[in-house]
Symmetry: C2
Subunit: 235 residues, 2 copies
């Protein structure tokens, strides 16, 4: 699944009442722990540890793990358990190639279909928050806000299928791997990318939004090329 994992009630939630099932809470908690750094890519998830820590039964936990596996967040190995997925360099570049056309579509749609000025302003605000968190905030806060930025942009575009297909949770995963290894200038480049995207959307300029996303991805590819091999599994 493209993914389709959010923690709060959202269009793709499994229930419409606002109450989350146990497995959804668990899936959200694991995602949150990945963004915050509590769980790291490659880490082995033990059922006994998780069930006791989260206070749920094995059945609910296993449902959550199936959900996360479908989203590519964890790898399930028969009789060996669940591991937080770890992306090697090729997978990261493949993921960027895959995400880019979807993100560009999202940006074009947001610029075209932006329902009102308040929505665009929220996007700009989110970009500003990212700029602030880049310096002051915790790592998890930055990644949470980044996710919020994408979710908002997709929602503004009004294409419900896009929200499903965009592999944002998987991107969170590689961001979590990379986040602590970036230089200040790389971090700045990243945060500024969102500001430019938001500005283009606010200006209702679809072509500029498309280009802003393309530039943003080019910057990310540059950063990936600059990172040392130890950041990725298998050299």
């Amino acid at each position: 699944m493209g993914q389709v994992l959010k923690e709060k009630s959202s269009p793709d939630d499994n229930d419409n009442t606002g109450k989350l099932s146990a497995s959804d809470r668990v899936a959200g908690a694991i995602l949150q722990d990945i963004r915050s750094g509590r769980l790291v890519p490659g880490q082995h998830l033990l059922e006994p540890e998780l069930t006791s820590r989260l206070g749920i039964s094995r059945g609910s936990l296993r449902e959550a793990l199936k959900h996360l596996a479908a989203a590519g967040i964890v790898d399930l190995n028969r009789f060996r358990g669940a591991y937080i997925a770890a992306l090697d360099r090729k997978s990261v570049l493949d993921l960027l190639d895959t995400l880019e056309p979807l993100a560009r579509l999202a940006a074009r749609l947001a610029a075209t279909n932006c329902p009102n000025d308040r929505a665009a302003q929220r996007l700009v605000k989110s970009a500003k928050v990212l700029e602030d968190l880049r310096l002051s905030g915790q790592r998890g806060d930055y990644l949470n806000e980044r996710r919020r930025f994408y979710d908002m942009m997709v929602e503004m575009g009004g294409n419900v299928e896009l929200a499903r297909a965009m592999p944002l949770s998987r991107t969170d995963l590689f961001r979590a791997q990379v986040e602590t290894r970036q230089s200040e200038s790389q971090r700045r480049r990243h945060a500024e990318g969102y500001a430019k995207i938001a500005a283009a959307v606010q200006a209702r300029d679809a072509a500029a939004a498309d280009k802003a996303v393309a530039d943003h991805f080019a910057g990310t590819r540059k950063t990936m090329a600059e990172l040392p091999a130890e950041v990725f599994p298998n050299g």
Copy 2:
């Protein structure tokens, strides 16, 4: 989530031994039943019926349903159970907008990175099989071969993340809705689209492959516009 649901052992399978878990077998069986028409969009899936028919426990079934829900194949409603997802007209058009850039990327990659002639020939062969099945075959056979075509093309391109992100299972879903309502000419247009894509890939012409996919999607949009409202839920 893009999807990530295959029935046989495949790159995204949860085990590397070739043996499938019970929940994966169930998920595959449900997908197959959708393609073959045994299960129709909107249908309510009852746990007691499925556990007895498939001979598995409720726990395994629920794991499978979580997996399918993450892929957008079933809707899970708290205390109301699982329903085969049904796409209204807007969702179908949104899905086409989302899938198109990914399919074009897949075609370009396949044309560029096609490892050997045999692979390209298999793609052409698959397109021919589709042309045959269009007339003679069962509905499920056509949709299965169509899925195989996409899987092959993606694999030829060598981008593993693309396989995850492409919402092919969700497309199966809307194909299953639409398949029996198409005219002969619409069906022919669809099958011929694959032949043109395969030819461009075989010629190693990325630009032509990209255009062939774009044309194919344009044809599908046309077909969607021609279909009557009763094909889709909610008019």
